[in-house]
């Protein structure tokens, strides 16, 4: 190691340097912790506002936990308000399922192509193009689904309803493709070259190598990508609000209109009386949504960890 410049070695200089370093470290730490604090504050706020459902007798008279499951309809503004979770949960499930079934194969196979088959020039085009898709505002995707996709879909399916879970799910799928693609592509690219070389040396074709060697080796990363896409699809609001029709119908058909948890909160929170049972119920929905996406993200984190350990061990 070359000797330090003598000027840097003076005591005063060392001290000012230490102070500066400590200041910068402190600042960065504050930034990191303010993000964590923000998350905690949001969590506390959402759960606190939902609490009257469990503790306040006046709220419980109109909205209580048992009622979420025994009620038959979602009719919050009514002479007899009813808050059934079933139509909202089935609506969310239908839309998210369609989105994932549509987006996962496309995103994973596109990632496989970009990382294993595409010449580097082509990859330089595909990757940014798909990443730009992530930058398309969801309201634009929602508008496209509302105006164009819905008409086209109705022409194909002849379903009575123009706006449906299928329509919203497909638009949502377009929205989550970039999330899944980006994570998958990174995971595939981080598979060591030696794996592929070994496979090819044994006489496997490029497709056999990609499908049976590279993809399984990156499976944890692919799993993480799919889960992150799932979390985004569950929480996404604007596309669904515009494209699903928002009717709280409890059915298994994806051709029916659907009301999702996120769209329901967005649509109703605007004018609800603060502190009313309806208000508490909407925050309860928020807490449910928060918990679902949180668990999915934790699971995705687990997959990423596994991938890291796997590749480190290789």
């Amino acid at each position: 190691m070359p000797p330090l410049q003598p000027a840097l070695n003076t005591l005063a200089h060392r001290r000012s340097r230490r102070v500066r370093e400590a200041f910068i470290a402190g600042l960065l730490r504050a930034c990191a912790f303010s993000a964590v604090a923000g998350l905690l504050l949001i969590m506390v706020f959402v759960f606190k506002e939902a609490l009257p459902i469990f503790t306040n007798a006046a709220t419980q008279k109109e909205a209580n936990f048992a009622g979420f499951f025994s009620a038959t309809a979602w009719q919050p503004v009514s002479d007899h308000p009813r808050y059934a979770l079933a139509p909202l949960l089935s609506g969310t499930l239908k839309v998210v399922l369609v989105a994932m079934l549509f987006a996962t194969p496309i995103a994973v196979l596109a990632a496989l192509f970009a990382s294993e088959f595409a010449p580097s020039r082509l990859r330089e085009v595909i990757k940014p193009a798909i990443e730009i898709l992530a930058g398309v505002p969801s309201v634009v995707l929602g508008f496209f689904a509302l105006m164009v996709l819905a008409t086209w879909l109705q022409g194909v399916t002849h379903a009575p309803m123009r706006l449906s879970a299928l329509n919203a799910g497909l638009a949502l799928g377009i929205g989550v493709i970039p999330t899944i693609f980006t994570v998958c592509e990174d995971a595939l690219r981080s598979v060591p070259k030696s794996y592929r070389e070994a496979s090819l040396a044994l006489g496997a074709s490029p497709w056999q190598t990609a499908w049976s060697v590279t993809l399984p080796a990156a499976s944890a990363g692919v799993g993480a990508g799919v889960l992150l896409g799932l979390a985004r699809a569950t929480g996404e609001t604007m596309i669904v609000l515009m494209a699903s029709g928002n009717a709280a119908i409890h059915s298994a058909s994806v051709l029916d209109s659907a009301r999702t948890l996120s769209a329901c909160i967005a649509a109703e929170l605007a004018e609800v009386v603060v502190g009313s049972p309806h208000y508490s119920v909407l925050f309860f929905l928020g807490a449910v949504l928060f918990t679902i996406t949180f668990l999915i993200n934790v699971a995705a984190g687990f997959f990423v960890d596994r991938l890291r350990r796997q590749l480190a061990g290789a």
């Binding site: 309809a73 009717a247 209109s257 009386v273």
Partner: protein, 280 residues
């Protein structure tokens, strides 16, 4: 350890900064807040009034009639625009704070239109039929004289004043059918019905474009009436309503001048241009 304490101090400072909400700013202008139906109308009034009276500042925001009334009660708006009358419990809240149940000023009339797709052979519906359609008792157009096709219901979100008006005046307070699709904004409803041959929707008369208005009968035997300036004004069209300004107390000074201007022929003429109907 020291670093940690310092960091916590910084964090606490950030949090306390975030915690103190901005102090209410003394506004020198007039603020209007409330009904989404009335936002465009309020903005036109404000623009024209500010043009004619330089130096006056009028701010108009929407959010819904309920939001506007809440803002009036909380003191964050001068004038509340509402497409429905104030409810008794809202008046009580206002009285608790200001010893007055507020001033109600009708500023225009609005006819709520029922929209049908242009290709729909059905031309008229009675209130009774509309109620049966929107509560889900009638589900096929042929039950009301149309072709054999499922009726597709469109409506507004339950946070909208239009939703409340329709529910109170057409459904008699009963609940909408679960299959009623709710869309954000009257324009979205109009658009959906324009694209849906079997759709039906409702909303302010101001927005009617690309769809056909349905003539409405008060009851099965009554004549069918189309929404229009004359029928809304004289009340023969069954789905008409007043649009209101609400204030905490009698308007004075600049506020009074503005309200007077809104009620003047010039202000009323502007309401007609936007698509509403004058008071007189």
């Amino acid at each position: 350890m020291i670093a940690r304490i310092r960091m916590l101090g910084l964090l606490a400072a950030t949090l306390s900064l975030a915690a103190c909400s901005p102090a209410p700013v003394e506004s020198r202008g007039i603020t209007l807040k409330g009904s989404d139906t009335m936002v465009i109308l309020g903005q036109r009034w404000a623009e024209q009034y500010m043009n004619q009276n330089p130096g006056q500042v009028i701010q108009v925001t929407g959010g819904g009639s309920g939001t506007g009334i809440a803002a009036l009660i909380n003191g964050t708006t001068d004038i509340c625009q509402s497409s429905r009358p104030m409810k008794p419990d809202e008046k009580l809240k206002l009285r608790d704070r200001y010893q007055s149940t507020g001033i109600e000023i009708p500023v225009a009339k609005d006819g709520l239109s029922v929209y049908l797709n242009e290709g729909n052979p059905v031309k008229e519906l009675s209130i009774e039929q509309l109620k049966a359609i929107y509560t889900g008792k009638v589900t096929n157009w042929k039950q009301v004289g149309g072709k054999d096709a499922t009726i597709i219901l469109y409506g507004r979100e339950n946070s909208s004043g239009t939703y409340g008006f329709f529910k109170d005046n057409v459904l008699d307070g009963q609940d909408f059918a679960a299959s009623c699709q709710t869309l954000p904004g009257t324009a979205a409803v109009v658009n959906a019905v324009a694209k849906d041959a079997n759709g039906i929707g409702y909303g302010g008369a101001a927005y009617t474009k690309g769809v056909r208005d349905c003539a409405v009968k008060k009851n099965a035997g009554a004549p069918a009436v189309m929404p229009g300036a004359a029928t809304v004004k004289d009340g023969s069209y069954p789905l008409s309503r007043f649009l209101f300004f609400y204030l905490r107390r009698k308007p004075e000074g600049d506020t009074k001048k503005f309200v007077d201007w809104v009620l003047s022929p010039a202000g009323q003429q502007l309401a007609v241009q936007v698509g509403y109907f004058p008071l007189h």
